[in-house]
Amino acid sequence: MENKNLREEIIRRSGVNPLKCMRCGKCSGTCPAYDEMEYHPHQFVYMVETGDIEPLMNSKSLYKCLTCFACVDRCPRGVEPAKLIESVRLSVIRQQGNNHLNTDTIPDIIDEEMPQQAIVTALRKYNK
């Protein structure tokens, strides 16, 4: 997909308006996955806005987000960065062969106590 279309698709699907962002960084400051992310929530907002999307699509940051909504509820401008991150992730995993979780490995990941909830949620977030 051409970059401009991709940008529009990601924004439309997320329902987020990145132009509302005032770049205060509060979303990244509160993000529990901050240390593990190469691109942080406020960078997702900025980079989607400017159409710099490829690096985001290739980044492991997409799979570090916990969907905990801390950035959503703590953003003073109501930008909802988590929804943009999810939308970028969907642009990746909806492509053929781009599932993030290899289902063959699941038996090795789980143990006796692991709740089903962990598996279904991971499949929903990581795979299509």
């Binding site: 969907t67 909504f69 089903q116």
Partner: protein, 260 residues
């Protein structure tokens, strides 16, 4: 009082105690739980993307069944509650999504978010009343220092979940007080346990859950209370020495209906 009940996949398997004690305590408090017929897994997480329809239909069906019965829809698992509540909000406020979902489901009458979605804690606070819960307590947990763990799913997004103040919640602390115990408030009570990321990166989840338990320990907690099977799993796997208990189990204990 009768309410529709959505147990969810994990309450049938790895979190049977969460379900069992929820049913027992409800009975002791005079509430009848009518299980949704043929309910299907909520999927564990709500996909925020507006173009995602199929993954939300199991929730729409459960919501509609409760509507037809004229009952609120209750769940105990934080994740089920979160997904049902967010799906209901989308059915109410996103016309495009509601149109497509209704087209798939073909209900007799279109579903438009009419059902009241409540978490077990809200049943206790808003339908029964914590004062009534307190009166029904047979074994008060006097002196027990209990730390409520909200995590993320019970409260956020606050705009939709509307259970409590997202940064200064009190519902679980009030619940703990009703049981006669002492609530312990600590900074990480509404931070994420690591969630489903445990499937991708166990160390990453462990980092988050040990921060939560360390925070509770420093505040003087003896036990940590949760409504979420995945929170319980992650917290227990953190390797910290702190018991993590389902809130329904503590409730059943206080009401004197825990033992068979």
């Amino acid at each position: 009082m009768k309410v529709s009940y959505f147990p969810g996949c994990t309450l049938r398997t790895k979190a049977k105690q969460l379900d069992k004690y929820a049913r027992r305590a409800a009975e002791a408090l005079g509430v009848e739980l009518e299980e949704i017929e043929n309910w299907q897994c909520c999927g564990g997480a709500f996909t925020t993307s507006t173009d995602e329809i199929a993954t939300k239909l199991s929730s729409v069906r459960a919501l509609n069944e409760a509507k037809v019965k004229g009952q609120p829809l209750l769940s105990v698992c934080s994740a089920c509650h979160n997904v049902l509540k967010q799906t209901n909000d989308a059915m109410k406020n996103n016309a495009d999504f509601a149109f497509k979902a209704n087209n798939y489901c073909e209900f007799e009458e279109n579903y438009a978010g009419e059902t009241e979605v409540i978490h077990y804690l809200e049943l206790l606070r808003d339908k029964i009343g914590f004062d009534k819960v307190k009166e029904a307590v047979k074994n008060p947990l006097t002196g027990k220092k209990v730390a409520a763990y909200y995590g993320c799913l019970l409260l956020r997004p606050g705009k939709v979940l509307q259970m409590d103040d997202v940064e200064n919640p009190t519902i679980m602390e009030d619940f703990i007080r009703a049981l006669g115990a002492d609530p312990v408030v600590y900074p990480y009570r509404n931070e994420c346990c690591g969630g489903y990321v445990v499937m991708d990166d166990k160390e990453s989840a462990k980092k988050k859950s040990s921060k939560v338990l360390e925070s509770a320990r420093l505040a003087g907690a003896e036990i940590v209370l949760t409504a979420c099977p995945l929170c319980k799993y992650n917290l227990e796997k953190s390797g910290m020495d702190m018991p993590v208990v389902y809130l329904t189990e503590l409730l059943a204990e206080a009401l004197g209906v825990k033992e068979d």
